[in-house]
């Protein structure tokens, strides 16, 4: 196949990616869009195999078989509640694959004793650095999400100083590799430091900031693929990588906006470290006592209600309560109570987390309403039911300028006639901020595991 035909085939695969992503703009066409993007990938792979000739087939067959087995096994087995962990691992494997390709290219150049052009050397540096830190950063994100390591920010004295030194080292090594790429020492050092950097960048970030981290690492895996495209002079990689990079950056921005924080603040702010000197406990006493209620009390209120908005949060995911929640919503609808869901952009641990869980439980997606569209509805709503959400419904974000979360857009549940909050305990949310919602006159706290409590609520409503 001539070079031109190969290029046209790569262009075709890029067009299929773009069409596929475009079809993700509607739930009706999304499944087909995903299939079209996969077809684009197939075109790119077949094109490469035809264009490359016959060397190394044993490696290709072995590698593809192994990768397919691992990929298919995890994709078909993973629980929907574990989707953030799955995406974290996928980010990491994409990043490291790009870095490995860049490394393989550099080692081939070195073997031939031929120096790559400046642009190629620069691309090798970027791909190694970004791909490497995407791998370890994603692994740390995975461990935090899977609660195999503490989700709270890990900080130590002199952290900023250590990071600054490493940052300088990274810059120096990048320059060394880019200017004299055939010296392999700096290259190995760069690869090593990239791996360390990924760990250092993610450990100080708290669990609830994971939507930002995952989005950013998603973007990095795309940028690494794009850089590898420059290494190999391949348009398919440049376009595919850039699309993913753009997607990750847009999601990162949406997540930051939804927390009213800058990216820098998320990455380096170590937000929600230890709350200062027990002030949250003291704050609780000042605000009065919390009223604990039973599901039966809630059922009484529901018997007089005609509308309900359910606000799910991470607590629903942890308790795997989505099916119980769907059962409750169906029951309420049966009793003539309109029931919708209010979805905050950063509810859960990744963008769109709540939507996926509720879709899994067979909730009609037309009932999942975005924050800006549902907020005007709360004052006319009889019951707002908050399930395992905290900071995204904290009214002090609206009113208390001294609050660390002041300015964050929230769901205005406190404006509903009655508010039920299902929560495991009175522990403040990850931000360590006390939530005045819990002390409001119209708020009823029901303590317990989200799933058990929702099921108890179902029984109580049914019996009433």
């Amino acid at each position: 196949m001539s070079a031109t035909v190969l290029q046209i085939a790569y262009l075709l695969s890029a067009v299929l990616f773009i069409v596929g992503l475009k079809m993700l703009s509607s739930a009706r066409t999304a499944t087909r869009g995903n299939a079209i993007a996969a077809l684009g990938m197939g075109v790119a792979i077949v094109t490469t195999l035809i264009g490359q000739g016959v060397l190394g087939w044993e490696y290709i067959i072995g590698g593809v078989a192994l990768g397919s087995a691992i990929g298919a096994f995890t994709a078909l087995r993973v629980k929907m509640t574990s989707m953030p962990e799955m995406v974290a691992l996928l980010n990491g494997s994409g990043g490291v694959a790009s870095a490995l390709v860049a490394g393989a290219e550099l080692l081939s150049y070195a073997d031939r004793g031929e120096s790559p052009a400046g642009m190629v050397a620069t691309a090798i540096v970027l791909s190694t650095l970004i791909g490497g830190l995407t791998l370890t950063g994603s692994l740390i994100a995975f461990l935090k999400l899977a609660e195999k390591m503490p989700g709270r920010p890990i900080t130590y004295p002199g952290q900023q100083f250590v990071n600054a030194i490493i940052g300088l080292g990274v810059v120096a090594l990048c320059v060394m590799v880019a200017t004299s790429p055939l010296e392999l020492g700096p290259f190995w050092a760069l690869a090593g430091i990239a791996l360390v950097l990924g760990v250092l960048l993610v450990i100080p970030i708290g669990g609830a900031d994971m939507p930002v981290v995952i989005s950013l690492l998603n973007s990095y895996s795309g940028i690494a693929a794009c850089a590898t495209g420059f290494v190999l002079n391949n348009t398919g990689l440049v376009i595919g990588g850039t699309l993913v990079g753009a997607s990750g950056l847009i999601l990162t921005k949406i997540m930051c906006d939804a927390m009213n924080r800058s990216l820098g603040n998320v990455l380096f702010g170590a937000f929600g470290a230890a709350p200062a000197g027990g002030s949250s406990a003291a704050g609780g006493e000042e605000q009065g006592t919390v009223k604990g209620y039973t599901p039966e009390d809630a059922a009484v209120i529901f018997s007089n209600a005609s509308s309900c908005i359910i606000v799910p949060g991470y607590g629903m995911a942890v308790a795997q309560a989505q099916h119980a929640v769907r059962e409750l919503a169906d029951l309420l609808e049966e009793k003539g109570i309109t029931c919708r869901f209010a979805i905050h952009p950063v509810a859960g641990r990744m963008p769109g987390h709540m939507n996926v869980l509720l879709a899994e439980a067979d909730v009609n997606y037309e009932k999942l309403i975005e924050m800006d569209n549902i907020n005007p509805e709360f004052p006319q709503t009889d019951v707002a039911l908050v399930i395992g959400a905290n900071d995204v419904v904290n009214p002090s974000a609206r009113s208390d300028e001294s609050s660390p979360i002041y300015g964050m857009p929230i769901l205005d549940v406190d404006r509903a006639q009655h508010v039920f909050v299902i929560k495991r305990s009175m522990n403040p949310g990850f931000a360590g901020v006390q939530n005045p919602l819990f002390f409001n006159e119209n708020t009823m706290m029901v303590f317990g595991d989200a799933k058990a409590t929702v099921l108890a609520l179902v029984n109580a409503v049914r019996a009433y």
Binding site: G40, Y59, M80, G94
Partner: protein, 100 residues
């Protein structure tokens, strides 16, 4: 091929604008599938991995390429399959067969 770096940069910038344009239109409802689906697309690096193993390279490059093939395939196969699995769950009420 893209022998002129300016051509590759042109492709990059245009792709960036296309990406921003189409991805901004994806509703929050589908942000998780967008993420896993775009993740699968970043597995396009499999093209580079295949080139690395099939070229007449030193053994260490071939092994790097082999590892890259494995990781990129995980990304591609895992990404598209899990996205498909998720999207299959997003159904409007009318389309639900077993509506009770």
């Amino acid at each position: 091929m893209l022998s002129d770096p300016a051509v590759a940069l042109t492709v990059l910038v245009l792709a960036l604008f296309v990406g921003i344009e189409i991805i901004s239109k994806v509703p929050p409802l589908l942000h998780t599938p967008l993420m896993s689906g775009s993740n699968a697309i970043s597995g396009i690096t499999i093209v580079g991995a295949l080139i690395a193993v099939t070229s007449d390279n030193p053994l260490i490059s071939t092994w790097f390429g082999f590892a890259a093939v494995v990781f990129a395939t995980i990304n591609v196969v895992g990404g598209f399959l899990v996205t498909n699995r998720m999207l299959a769950m997003f159904k409007p009420k009318q389309a639900r067969g077993d509506d009770k």
